[in-house]
């Protein structure tokens, strides 16, 4: 019957940090020292933040946490390619992007520490962290459509995991993005695993990128550990979106080097060999070597930057630890725009409960879970 052309695969730097493209326009990125240094710094910060967040969880100071270890190039490319006026509609593993867009480390920790204030910050138009898989895709096309209706010249970027591409929301959203030529960029963080389910069981197609075909939108697969390539396909897609040419689907092929979350134990379902191989592909070292090879990044700079990361993350952790919990009534403060009088009975009950609690011991320890 019908066959696909080979899906475009974009890679500028290979795992050994060698330039493997002959594409001239790649030079715009490959020679943009400022951009690459900035990208490197954000990736390093993200990795340290992730590591410390996991440690906080392990020591009972935070809840279940999904590290982005190994996927930093994708998150940083999204963050750096977007403008402050664009709208981000993220999923739950976009720590790098949130940080770049002004999210405070304290707030990220608050969210995963079980405090609603964690999503109060960031650019006011950005959507909050989204846990129900793929639902963010539908929101993103809604935002994109609002932009079009309101004559806004910005774009939406929305992210999703490889597992999420199986869920109806994502596919329905792709379809309307194609039908309505919406200014939206879909980025798949294909980290090869959806908890324990490998990419091959998730979908029978050779690439996830080609899901764009059925929706009539352009698609491309990119080496997700190559910041340069991811950044440039994103720039191209954003340009298309902003100039009224519609949506793009980008599959960034990377690897989840850590457990799914702190509640997961990946050794149950994948081999140490696979993970070892994946480490040799990881994005930070790749960019670091590229930069170092060219003399754009020295060991001293590295040391100084690691110290700075340490400082920033610790500062965030301190802020997280020292914040007072919200009062009990906070559960009603944002439920409706105004607390409905007809619910006043509930407030009475809450105050009575709080009174009872104040004469009692603290609650027992958490069990860690997803």
């Amino acid at each position: 019957m019908t066959e696909l052309l080979k899906v475009e695969y974009r890679q500028y730097l290979d795992a050994g940090s060698e330039v493997v493209t002959t594409n001239k326009s790649a030079l715009v990125v490959l020679e943009n020292t400022d951009l690459l240094l900035s990208a490197y710094r954000w990736m390093a910060l993200t990795r340290l933040y992730d590591q410390k967040a996991v440690a906080l969880q392990r020591t009972g100071q935070m809840g279940t946490y999904p590290s982005s270890l190994g996927q930093e190039a994708v998150g940083v490319a999204v963050g750096l390619a977007m403008s402050q006026e664009d709208t981000l509609v993220p999923y739950y593993r976009d720590h790098a992007t949130l940080l770049i867009r002004g999210g405070r480390i304290r707030d990220l920790l608050l969210y995963w520490g079980g405090d609603e204030r964690g999503c109060a910050g960031g650019p006011k138009q950005d959507f909050p962290i989204c846990v129900p898989i793929a639902t963010q895709s539908s929101h993103a096309v809604g935002v994109a459509s609002a932009m079009k209706i309101q004559g806004e010249a910005n774009a939406v970027v929305t992210t999703i995991g490889d597992g999420g591409t199986s869920k109806g929301d994502f596919l329905e959203a792709l379809n309307v993005a194609g039908a309505w030529q919406l200014p939206v960029v879909f980025v798949i963080n294909n980290n090869q695993w959806a908890i324990s389910v490998p990419r091959g069981i998730q979908c029978g197609a050779d690439t996830l990128a080609q899901k764009g075909a059925g929706a009539g939108i352009p698609f491309v697969q990119v080496d997700g550990n190559d910041f340069c390539a991811v950044f440039q396909v994103l720039q191209e897609a954003l340009k298309r979106a902003r100039s009224g040419k519609g949506a793009t689907l980008i599959e960034a092929v990377t690897y989840r080097l850590g457990d799914h979350t702190t509640a997961d134990d990946a050794t149950r379902y994948r081999s140490p060999e696979e993970v070892k191989v994946a480490w040799s592909n990881e994005p930070i070292k790749r960019l670091q070597t590229y930069l170092a090879d060219r003399g754009w990044w020295t060991e001293d700079q590295e040391k100084a930057w690691q110290a700075e990361c340490e400082r920033q993350v610790e500062e965030g952790i301190d802020a997280y630890k020292s914040i007072q919990p919200e009062p009990a009534e906070a559960m009603f403060d944002y439920l409706y725009d105004e607390f409905p009088d007809v619910m006043s009975n509930q407030l009475d009950l809450l105050y009575q409960k709080v009174e009872r609690m104040e004469s009692l011991a603290p609650v027992s320890d958490p069990e860690d879970t997803h």
Binding site: C119, P132, S138, V176, Y334
Partner: protein, 329 residues
């Protein structure tokens, strides 16, 4: 000069409210299946496309999850989407977005974003429609914190409550009783006046028994009240209207006065909206009750296809019989 008052049907009142809000507020947009050129399968959105253009009246792809999800996205980005789900029987695919997002966006972002959308859907049986076109599952949505559920029972209330729903900063599920879409006409003045969402409406005063209902069943409740009056029983008829959150105090005051309460709804009895009203009364008015609280409802069964739906739908006679029993209790 335009004559602003019309004798119109309930579905025309819906259309009138939509036109009014779209004229006065640029951010109001309409989306759904067949809402554009076709004007909606029940004509609720007729002429809106012509008046407000393609950008503000959108025929979506056929996907209820998408419709609800896009509405969330639009509402979170400055628009006021009024999305139509063609029939309530097809709303279930939209549920995840209503439960997990629309009703939580303000809470989740501590007020940074909110989700002021309206989902409209015709609901209820009695129009001899095919399978899945007769659902009354308002109870499912009434249980969701952060949502509002609103049901009109007359053209005027449809107009006023829909205006209020569109103007509400909260997400609203607006359910339209399609059995009475065209059954009665009423003068509705297109004055842009919204009705409150925090009160029920007492449609008939009475001292002997309180009838609480909403939507299409208000019709049978009022007819039953007339019948009962002929026997000397004066029923107070209350239209719940705002199902979530609901105004208990009006009902409570009425039941404290009458000492008797009969709740009427078309949905399955068990775990229906009537249960909450009854439970709230049992909690707060026990000592005032002269008789048990009774419910006249649909059965706990799949709505029979239309040849037999009359066996399912609560009738005037069912209500009268129950009220008579309560009077004798």
């Amino acid at each position: 000069m335009d004559d602003l008052s019309h004798e119109i049907t309930l579905v025309e009142a819906v259309n009138l409210a939509l036109s009014h809000e779209m004229s006065s507020n640029e951010s109001v947009v309409v989306l759904g299946e067949d809402v554009g050129t076709n004007g909606g399968v029940f004509r609720a959105t007729v002429d809106l496309r012509e008046r407000f253009g393609f950008k503000r009246v959108m025929d979506t792809p056929l996907a209820e999850t998408l419709i609800a999800g896009m509405a969330v996205g639009m509402a979170g980005h400055g628009l006021k989407p009024v999305a139509e789900i063609q029939f309530m029987g097809f709303i279930y695919a939209a549920m995840e977005h209503l439960v997990s997002h629309a009703s939580r966006m303000r809470n989740r972002t501590r007020g940074r974003l909110s989700c002021p959308l309206v989902i409209r859907a015709p609901f209820g049986g009695g129009i001899h429609a095919p399978e899945h076109h007769s659902e009354s599952t308002e109870a499912l949505f009434a249980h969701i914190p952060g949502l509002r559920v609103v049901i009109p029972s007359s053209p005027a209330r449809a107009y006023g409550l829909l205006l209020a729903s569109i103007r509400s900063p909260d997400p609203v599920l607006f359910l339209e009783p399609k059995r009475i879409y065209r059954i009665d006409r009423q003068t509705v003045v297109d004055n842009g006046q919204a009705l409150p969402l925090d009160t029920c409406f007492t449609l008939r005063q009475g001292e002997d028994i309180t009838l609480v209902s909403w939507g299409a069943s208000i019709r049978e409740s009022l007819l039953a009240a007339e019948s009962l009056a002929k026997e000397g029983v004066e029923a107070e008829v209350i239209d719940l209207a705002s199902i979530k959150p609901f105004d208990l105090s009006t009902i409570l005051n009425s039941v404290r006065k009458t000492g008797r309460c009969c709740i009427v709804h078309e949905a399955c009895r068990s775990f229906g909206v009537g249960a909450e009203i009854s439970a709230s009364l049992a909690e707060h008015a026990l000592l005032d009750l002269k008789a048990p609280i009774r419910r006249v409802t649909g059965f706990d069964t799949v709505m029979p296809y239309f040849k037999n739906e009359h066996y399912y739908l609560p009738s005037e006679e069912d209500i009268v019989a129950t009220c008579q029993a309560l009077m004798k209790f």
